[in-house]
C-alpha cells in the first residue's frame, strides 16, 4: 500500500493523485481480515457520494462488507479488472488494488478524521 494513503477507521484508504483527483480502496489489513474475496460491486462512473455513504460492496466467502466513501466525490473510473477477478485483491503480486477513482472538492474538514497510514497501522496493534 502507498505510504501516503490516508485511512478510515472502517479500513478504507484514500490516496491523493493531484488536481482534485483521488483513488480509494480497502486497506491491506482489511483484505487480510476478509480472506478470499469473491465478489466486488462498484458504482457507476458519474455517480456521486457524500462522505461515509456506502459506495461499494466487497464480499468474502463468509460475508458481505459495505465500503464507505472516505470523502465526498464524483466517480470518474472504476477498476473493472478487480470486478471481473475479485481474487486479485488477495494476490500479493498484484499492484492495482484500488476500487474507484473520483474527483473531489471536499472541504478539508472531511479529511480531519482520516489517519496517516503509519498511524493507522499503529492503531491496529
Amino acid at each position: 500500500m502507498n505510504e501516503n494513503s490516508l485511512c478510515t477507521k472502517t479500513h478504507e484508504y484514500v490516496l491523493e493523485l493531484g488536481n482534485g483527483k483521488y483513488e480509494t480502496g480497502i486497506t491491506d489489513y482489511a483484505i487480510g481480515q476478509l480472506g478470499d474475496i469473491v465478489f466486488i460491486e462498484l458504482p457507476e462512473v458519474g455517480s456521486e457520494f457524500v462522505k461515509n455513504e456506502v459506495f461499494a460492496t466487497v464480499e468474502s466467502v463468509k460475508a458481505a462488507s459495505e465500503i464507505y466513501m472516505p470523502v465526498s466525490g464524483k466517480i470518474t473510473e472504476i477498476n473493472e479488472e478487480v470486478v471481473n477477478s475479485p481474487e486479485l485483491l488477495n494476490d500479493d503480486g498484484y499492484e492495482n488494488k484500488w476500487l474507484i477513482k473520483f474527483d473531489s472538492d471536499a472541504d478539508q474538514l472531511e479529511f480531519a478524521d482520516l489517519m496517516d497510514y503509519s498511524d493507522y497501522k499503529e492503531e491496529l496493534e
Binding site: 480472506g35 466467502v61 463468509k62
Partner: protein, 367 residues
Amino acid sequence: MVKQTFLHDEHVKLGAKMVDFAGWHMPVQYTSIIDEHKIVRESVGLFDVSHMGEVIYKGKDVITFLNKMVPQSIDKLTDGKAVYCQLPNKEGGLIDDLIIYRLNAEKFLIVHNASRVDEDINWMSLNIGDLDVEIVNESHNYSMIAVQGPKACDYIKNLGISDLPPFFSIKEDLLFGIDLWVSRTGYTGEDGVELIMKNKDAVKIWRNLLSHSEDFIVKPIGLGARDTLRLEACLHLYGNDLDENTTPVEAGLAWSIPKNKTEAYNGKEVIENQLKNGIKKKLVGLKMVDRGIARHGYGVFYNGEQIGVVSSGSVSPTRGDNIALAYIKNLDNLTVGSTIQILIRDKYCNAEIIKKPFVQKRNKDSK
C-alpha cells in the same frame, strides 16, 4: 467466557484466524477458505470438531426412549451402527439434528450440535418420565477430529487402521497406539472418518495426523471451508436451514423418516400429516444467474411477490458459481428449472432452481 477445545493452541500455532462460533473460539481458516475447500475435495482435510457435543444415553429403556424422541427407527439399529436423526418438538419443529450411534442395546452415543447440546439435553431429560435412562454429557471429556476427503480412508488405513467401519458405523480401534472411536461419518459429502478420543490424547493425534502425511496431502481445515463443503453437499446447518419452526419434511429430510414406524414420537402427528398431505414451504437449491451472492436471510421473489427466504448461501468453490438453499412457498410451478429472484441489497437478481445436492456426494457406497 468463550470455550476452547484441547486443540486451540495448535490452531493458533498453525496461524489460524480464530473466531467465536457457538460459544467456542474456533479456527475459521488457516490459509484460505477456497484453498482449504479444494484440499478436502481432492485429498485429505483435518477438522477440529471438538465443539460438537458427545452425550451417552444408557439404561434398560434407552431404545424405547430414543424411539419416542426421533422419527427414525432406533430399534432397527444394530451394535456399532449409526443413523442421521432429527429431534422434533411436539409440533414437529426441529430442536436439533443428531447422529445417533448404538454402542450396545443399553448404551447409545449421540453427537449433538455445539450450539444446541444444552437445549437438547434439557428436552431429552424432560421426556424420560418413568423410563430407565441416564444421560451423561461427555462433551467436556472427549475431543473429535474429522478426517475427510477422497484419500482420507486410504490415509487412515495407511496409518494402521486396516479395517475401517462401513458408512454410518462406529468401532473402537487404536491409532498411534491410542485407543479411540472411529466413525465413518462426516459433514463434507466426501468419504472419511470422525475420530473421537479422550481430551488428553487430542494434541498427540492431531500432530501425528499432520506429520505422517508423506504420501498424502493432508491439511488442517477451518470452519469456513466446512460450511462451503457442507453447503455444496446440501447438508443442513442447524440455525440456518433448520430451526424450531421447520419440520424435517419441509427441510427435505423425508427420505430419512421411515414410513411404517408404529411407535409414537414427538411431532409425529404433524410430520405424518405433512408426509401424506403435503407441505406449505419447501427447501430448494438455487444457483445465481445474475452476479451476486445470496446470503442467509435474503428475500426470495417471484412475479414481484415475496415467496420465501434464503437459509444458506455462498460461493461454490467446486462448481465455480454462487449457490444457495432457500425456503419457498410450495407452489407446483416452482420446480427445477424455474427462475426466481433474490433481493440482494436493492437489486432483484435472477436465480434458477436446480437439483440438490450441488456437488455429488462421494460417501454413499463407502466400503
